[in-house]
């Protein structure tokens, strides 16, 4: 009973998630006239995006 994902898989997952979140947060922050309609905490979203990006970089560092 092992976890079926390897470090490479998790690294790829972090990369894809980070890209999606970073693009979303940047779009929301750069277009306030449209993003005002979305009732979400944009700063926390950006924080989560940066966290994912850093997590991806960390997995890359482990693999090197």
């Amino acid at each position: 009973m092992n976890f079926p994902l390897s470090l490479s898989d998790i690294s790829l997952w972090f990369a894809v998630t980070a890209i999606i979140l970073l693009i979303t947060s940047e779009l929301l922050l750069s277009l306030p006239e449209y993003s005002a309609q979305f009732m979400i905490d944009k700063k926390k979203l950006r924080l989560a995006a940066l966290g994912c990006g850093l997590a991806f970089l960390f997995t890359v560092l482990i693999r090197i």
Binding site: M1, T17, P32, A36, I40, D41, A48
Partner: protein, 276 residues
């Protein structure tokens, strides 16, 4: 016969009010599903199920994380501010004042002032009785009076003081130049406060022109409200900007002109920075 609301019949079960937003429910559902998928993935050694579980758990946690603390209807902003403008309207019409509103620059909070001049640190607006009246003396302003006799007028707290205090937390208005303020302030108002769809500011000699698109306070300018003081003091947003301009320049600021476009979709305001 009146009944005490505390005395409820025994048959009536106490109702629990559960107020959970839809987004929180979705988030919790995602989290539970994701965790279940992850457990199943470990048992079945399925890579696909693990990816699905990881993704769903993550998005569930993210939905919970980014849910705002609380939002209120934007119409509440105008309805709560309107009563204050009505009060000022009554005062102005009772005293038959026809002058402008002068946003008086306050002294910095950290500056040392003698006890009798401490009132100069308050952000205030002077509404003059006559159109050509000058600014009140420092002594009269410092006393913290409401009604002034020489020159005639009233000293009131600006409607945008609350918003100004929020702006002050983001930018030190005393430490930046007017041109920098015109660049920084619109970004803060749009990105941090979301109280307008678009806002631009630019300076022309001793005047500052402000254009607001889709302001949340546009209903205050509605002719149905019949508010006169809104054109003297501006809405809370334009008032807060006038206060910021007064603090930055260290000079009194007046609202010279306000143009309202149909439906309040666009509001043009012209501020004049008083010289001397």
């Amino acid at each position: 016969m009146s009944q005490n609301p505390a005395e409820k019949p025994k048959s009536e079960k106490p109702k629990r009010k559960i107020r959970r937003s839809v987004s929180s429910l979705i988030a919790v559902t995602f989290l539970v599903t994701g965790i279940l998928a992850l457990i199943l993935a470990v048992y079945a050694s399925s890579q696909i199920l693990a990816f699905i579980g990881l993704g769903v758990t993550f998005w569930g946690a993210l939905f919970l994380f980014i849910t705002p603390v609380r939002y209120v209807e934007s119409s509440l902003l105008t309805s709560t501010a309107a009563s204050m403008y009505s009060t000022i309207d009554r005062i102005i019409s009772d005293f038959k004042y026809a002058g402008k509103g002068y946003y008086v620059p306050p002294y910095p909070q950290e500056a040392y002032l003698p006890e009798h001049l401490k009132g100069l640190k308050d952000t205030i607006v002077f509404i003059a009785a006559q159109k050509n009246d000058t600014m009140p003396s420092i002594e009269e302003t410092a006393q913290g009076k409401f009604l002034l006799t020489n020159p005639k007028g009233i000293l009131i707290v600006p409607p945008g003081l609350g918003l100004l205090n929020q702006i002050k937390k983001k930018i030190p208005a005393t430490k930046i130049k007017l041109n920098e303020l015109c660049e920084v302030l619109p970004r803060i108002i749009l990105e941090d406060f979301n109280i307008a769809k678009d806002l631009t500011m630019h300076t022309e000699a001793d005047r500052v022109k402000l254009t607001i698109h889709g302001s949340l306070y546009k209903n205050l300018y509605n002719p149905k409200n019949k508010l006169k003081s809104i054109y003297i003091l501006g809405c809370p947003l334009t008032s807060a900007i006038a206060c910021t301009l007064a603090i930055t320049t260290g000079k009194a600021v007046t609202i010279q002109k306000t143009i309202i476009y149909p439906g309040g979709s666009k509001i043009d305001t012209e501020y004049q920075i008083m010289q001397g």
